[in-house]
């Protein structure tokens, strides 16, 4: 891959700064400029924090400066939350100070028809090679470095644990909701970026940066529109042989297609174009917000060698539903080997029906799950293990959570769980999620995710082969 542009390299300053200036910092608790400083302080950011406010001496116990130019030490990054009219001036000062990364929260630019103002701001950033995110964005999170410029209070919008998923969102509102949900579900993130109007750094720049980011293994994208579809397609094509990309395209209405004069013109809307591009670049397309993270979180698991699923369940009906979904998604039901069948017959009660789906019966305890998982782990005919655990039964105990996590930690085969239920079930799901075992509320959502996972694994295997050929 060609050397990254300076502004893309400078994104390091946005995500991993040693020092950060909050321009527009405020003493008023309900002001955005206050919330951001507070989030850096309370979130445990390890670097230096410099509040910038022309009228304050001190904000949240930190010495406040009138301008970034008044700081003697080096400053890597800045968050700007001043009124739109003041942005150009403070950004110019950031450039002079040698600040490399800027998150521009302020709105009131191209989204309200002020495209010229936005161009002015972009030109200043380009002049200094600043990686500028925004304007009109909600901020950036890096859970590992505790960089947190998201201007919503932590008690209102939960922050996710450290994980491998980078999530970039054109919409701040949608992005924020998903981050909050991910935090509650126990899903981890490496980065969250609300990139707003994308005046300087756009979705393609972020994809290229994240492709080389060691903390990121999965890239999730919420898109409404892009400036250059071809570049997106080319970038995605280069990245998916190394890292999976899960994307959702919002705004699929057929506007424009009505004016078409041909059959093809009438059928080819924006949705079809994006769908085609995603398909060609092996981007995994989500149709709904739920699917976005349903698909993404499964990639915490090792890639499967094939699409043969072994199902273990303590409820017969759920096994039947899972089989139906498996067939609908084009997956295969693993044929258990003779050795597996023999060992299961020995260790399971006589009334258990030894076949796939393996119904270990409603009186199964965690030990019975362990026996079944171990057998499927050893069986070369099983590529993926799906655990259906109904926590409502009298016999099941919480130990099954540890068993699932231990099996997942072996990193031999993907372990995926379906747990359908209420509060008590959710508690167990959260624990599994936070240890990287993806959990689903229904067999159908699990199977849909497994299908995308297996398709992607096949693409990786394929591109690995052609990659080797090319090197020869």
């Amino acid at each position: 891959m060609a050397a990254l542009l300076k502004k893309i390299r400078n994104l390091d300053a946005v995500f991993h700064p040693n020092s950060i200036a909050v321009i527009g910092a405020s003493r008023e608790p309900n002001k955005i400029g206050h919330v951001i400083v507070k989030n850096f302080v309370d979130g445990g950011f390890g670097g230096k924090i410099y509040p910038i406010n022309p009228n304050a001496e001190e904000i949240l116990g930190l010495r406040s400066y009138k301008s970034v130019l008044g700081i003697k030490e080096k400053v890597d990054s800045a968050v700007i939350a001043v009124p739109a009219a003041a942005v150009a001036g403070v950004l110019e000062e950031c450039g002079k100070k040698g600040i490399k990364g800027v998150v521009l929260i302020t709105g009131g630019f191209s989204e309200v028809g002020k495209a010229d103002e936005e161009k002015k701001v972009a030109a200043i950033a380009e002049k200094y090679g600043i990686a500028l995110i925004g304007p009109n964005c909600m901020g950036v999170l890096t859970p590992a470095t505790r960089v947190d410029s998201v201007f919503l209070p932590i008690y209102k919008l939960g922050r996710p644990r450290v994980g491998k998923i980078a999530f970039i969102s054109q919409s701040g509102a949608v992005g924020g909701c998903i981050v909050d949900l991910a935090a509650r579900a126990g899903i981890g993130m490496s980065k969250f970026v609300s990139y707003g109007n994308a005046a300087v750094i756009n979705e393609c720049d972020l994809l290229e940066y994240l492709a080389g980011d060691k903390e990121t293994e999965i890239i999730v994208v919420y898109l409404e529109g892009v400036k250059d579809g071809r570049r997106l397609l080319d970038a995605a094509r280069r990245i998916t042989p190394k890292k999976p990309i899960v994307a959702i395209k919002a705004g699929k209405s057929a506007a424009g297609a009505e004016a078409a004069k041909s059959h093809t013109g009438a059928l080819a809307g924006a949705a079809e174009a994006y769908k085609a591009a995603f398909r060609q670049a092996h981007v995994i397309e989500a149709e709904t917000l739920e699917q976005l993270f349903d698909f993404a979180k499964i990639f915490d698991q090792p890639l499967p060698r094939g699409k043969r699923v072994g199902i273990i369940t303590n409820g017969g009906g759920m096994g039947v539903l899972a089989t139906d979904s498996l067939e609908a998604e084009g997956l295969a039901l693993a044929r258990l080997s003779d050795a597996t069948n023999a060992s299961l017959r020995l260790s399971l009660p006589a009334y258990a029906n030894v076949r796939n789906p393996l119904d270990i019966i409603g009186d199964a305890d965690s030990h019975r799950y362990e026996v079944a998982i171990n057998a499927m782990m050893r069986d070369g005919n099983v590529d993926i293990i799906l655990l259906i655990i109904l926590f409502q039964t009298a016999a099941i105990d919480s130990g099954v959570v540890n068993i699932a996590i231990r099996a997942s930690d072996l990193r031999q085969k993907p372990i995926i769980a379906v747990c359908t239920g209420g509060e008590y079930t959710d508690m167990h799901k959260r624990i599994m999620e936070s240890y990287g075992v993806p959990t689903y509320a229904s067999p159908s959502s699990a199977m849909r995710s497994i299908a995308r996972f297996a398709e992607y694994a096949a693409h990786r295997a394929e591109s690995g082969k052609t990659g080797k050929k090319e090197r020869k």
Partner: protein
């Protein structure tokens, strides 16, 4: 009917000739092979089918001769340019559509779909961004919901998949080069021997 644009990109269409005489009509039919269709060619006859100016499925020399004479007699009152002789697709052929559209974000898109009523009602169509590879073309064919029909469901002969792949790759080249606003080959008749474009439309 002649499609120089299709010729330029090596996309085949049914052979068509305008025969000024009965003998020429027979020669043309013998040359292109049966079955053929005969159509009246006259600037004064606009709705050929409605007025009985189209004869379909003529299977031999005798039928062509009789058909020719019938059309000449039926339209004796108008000025005739000649009789159009056109090779017809076989009974087992499937009606498809291949199209293109210039998309603001991605450039040329290529579409493959089931033709006839299916394109309107079922919207059984697949898109790709151009240019496409042979592998893309193969995947497009397999992604159609009606793929089993192309693969030869219920005793039908399967359509020639590699000819269809060729056609898609050629249309992709046409779209890349000509960059039309919209483009349709509709219908494209495909059978076990190959596929031919029966009609096309380009919007610059």
């Amino acid at each position: 009917m002649d499609f120089p644009l299709l010729s330029k990109y090596g996309i085949s269409y049914p052979r068509t000739e305008i025969a000024p005489t009965r003998m020429r009509a027979v020669e043309a039919a013998e040359g292109m092979g049966y079955p053929v269709a005969l159509k009246i060619s006259s600037s004064q006859v606009l709705h050929k089918t409605d007025r009985g100016g189209v004869l379909l499925g003529l299977k031999n020399k005798d039928e062509v001769q009789k058909g020719h004479d019938l059309l000449i007699a039926r339209f004796s009152h108008v000025k005739i340019d000649g009789i159009i002789v056109q090779r017809m697709a076989g009974k087992e052929s499937v009606e498809l559509i291949i199209g293109g559209k210039r998309d603001a974000q991605f450039g040329q898109l290529i579409m493959l779909g089931m033709g006839g009523i299916f394109v309107e009602v079922m919207r059984d169509v697949v898109f790709r961004v151009c240019p496409i590879t042979r592998k893309d073309a193969q995947e497009m064919i397999c992604e159609l919901r009606a793929y089993p029909i192309l693969a030869g469901a219920r005793g039908r002969k399967p359509v020639n998949k590699s000819a269809l792949v060729n056609a898609l790759v050629k249309v992709s080249a046409l779209l890349e080069k000509e960059n039309p606003a919209e483009f349709d080959i509709n219908p494209l008749m495909a059978d076990e021997k190959g596929c031919v474009a029966v009609d096309m439309r380009i919007l610059k």
